[in-house]
């Protein structure tokens, strides 16, 4: 069996802990799902439409996912701060990025679960055909990586500050504008009224991938400074 580095074992342990805690306490994901479904209802009345397609559908879906993600990002590091998790990772002989990677992966898992439920609900509420949903799930997965990369950074900064719940949306939303632009650009043809089309999607996927790589690298570079006391 391939020997595993201690950092990878730490990553696994923290990820397993987070997922187990979430499974037992159910504090993030149900809230995100409920929020998403309620927001769909709000949009139905706000836009005065019962059927959506193209750019409107992409916008409603992505804005909802973005704001639901903020709910999870707000509480990503709360337990670590309250229970001394930051101290533990500083004392342990592992790379601090194990914590970063575990939190980012946990966030991606939460978002995937959210989308697994919210996407069918969205389709039932607003869409005429489900044909575009499978490639849309792929676009959302790529966007989730970008959300996680910046979300973890901002969450770590905000965890040690005073107005934590205020700071996360304030700082995170401008940073997520390129994700919104690229994901909406890719989703719009997939949700078009006449059925999904794939023209021009490659450049938006490229931007999403570039964003993901850039902020994962930035997070890796600066994370140790966030962990210092």
């Amino acid at each position: 069996m391939r020997a595993r580095t201690s950092s990878f074992r730490a990553f696994e342990a923290i990820l397993a802990k987070d997922l187990r805690v979430e499974l037992r306490t159910l504090q993030s994901v149900p809230a995100m799902v409920l929020f998403a479904v309620t927001t769909f209802v709000l949009f139905r009345y706000g836009l005065d439409r019962s059927a959506l397609s193209g750019s409107l559908a992409a916008g409603v879906l992505l804005a909802t996912v973005l704001f639901a993600a903020i709910l999870a990002i707000n509480r990503l590091f709360v337990a670590e701060r309250d229970e001394g998790g930051f101290d533990a990772i500083r004392l342990a002989p592992v790379d601090g990025t194990a914590l970063l990677a575990a939190k980012a992966t946990a966030l991606v898992v939460y978002l995937l679960v959210l989308e697994a439920i919210a996407l069918p609900v969205f389709a039932v509420f607003f869409l005429d055909s489900w044909a575009g949903l499978a490639p849309l799930a792929g676009v959302l997965a790529l966007a989730d990586l970008g959300l996680a990369a910046t979300g973890v950074l901002v969450s770590a900064i905000a965890a040690n500050s005073r107005a934590r719940d205020l700071l996360v949306p304030l700082v995170l939303l401008p940073l997520l504008v390129p994700v919104m632009i690229a994901a909406a650009g890719a989703s719009e043809p997939l949700l078009a009224a006449g059925g999904p089309s794939y023209g021009g999607i490659a450049k938006w996927l490229a931007i999403l991938a570039l964003y993901d790589v850039t902020f994962l690298l930035v997070g890796y570079a600066v994370y140790d400074f966030l962990l210092e006391d």
Partner: protein, 258 residues
């Protein structure tokens, strides 16, 4: 290279800016768009200096994280501070130009202005971020992390917004042949003036912070126990510490952390 004194630099700034404006009003030819086009000589140098200032702030932030010296944090803070102020001027002049060109105060299908708005909104969150963290050293560290992240964000943002919108922002540099010679000269002088203005304002603000930090240290030395520093949340700007004093003496250890 010996850095010129602040007074000499300030005089040079006023001189170059005056020369630039003289060129704008008396030398540069009128474009097809008329007199309002001359706001280009104000708007574009402001935008370039503001964006360059954000990049410079990111570089200072990297130096701060690598060395731990709070002087770099002060420089990063002041750079962002002035670039945000220049950014307000960019948005206002851009809005005036948009109104004159296209009849509306704001146009969304104009990627450079929209990208700039997003960058401005991001850097404007720098202040509440610093306010929210009480411990001085941690505040400085997190602010540097933010400056680096935001610096990485700027080119990505411009790329994304540009791809999202059809291009109607005046492409004054890529039109056939570029700017005619007289306009190019005027533009370069104005750009030099704005850059000097930015650098002078940065130096003035750093000098002011350094002076007030020295004053606080002297007062503390004089008054000893009787000295009451300002409450921890009321001053977010980094003071410039002496090499011997610790950087976090201003944080009040009795303030409860939430």
């Amino acid at each position: 290279m010996k850095v010129p004194s602040l007074r000499a630099q300030a005089v040079a700034t006023v001189a170059v800016l005056a020369a630039g404006f003289a060129l704008v009003f008396f030398y540069a030819p009128l474009d097809a768009e008329g007199f309002i086009q001359k706001i280009f000589y104000l708007h574009v140098p402001l935008a370039i200096c503001s964006l360059a200032g954000f990049v410079v702030a990111g570089i200072h932030a990297i130096r701060h994280l690598r060395s731990g010296d709070a002087v770099h944090d002060a420089r990063s803070y002041v750079s962002i501070h002035l670039s945000v102020i220049f950014g307000i001027a960019v948005l206002v002049t851009g809005s005036i130009w948009a109104r004159a060109e296209w009849g509306k105060w704001w146009v969304w299908d104009e990627p450079t202005l929209v990208s700039f708005l997003i960058v401005f909104l991001l850097y404007a969150t720098y202040y509440p971020l610093r306010y929210a963290i009480e411990d001085r050293e941690r505040q400085a560290r997190y602010a540097s992390v933010f400056a680096i992240t935001a610096g990485a964000f700027v080119p990505l943002n411009f790329l994304a917004v540009r791809l999202a919108e059809p291009l109607i922002h005046p492409r004054t540099f890529s039109s056939a042949g570029g700017l005619p010679g007289s306009m190019l000269l005027t533009f370069l002088v104005c750009l030099a003036g704005m850059a000097l203005l930015w650098l002078s304002l940065v130096r003035f603000e750093l000098a002011a912070k350094s002076a007030s930090a020295r004053l606080s240290r002297l007062r503390r030395a004089l008054e000893g126990e009787a000295y009451a520093p300002p409450p921890a949340g009321s001053r977010i700007a980094p003071g410039i510490p002496s090499r011997t004093a610790s950087a976090s003496w201003m944080s009040d250890p009795t303030t409860p952390r939430i």
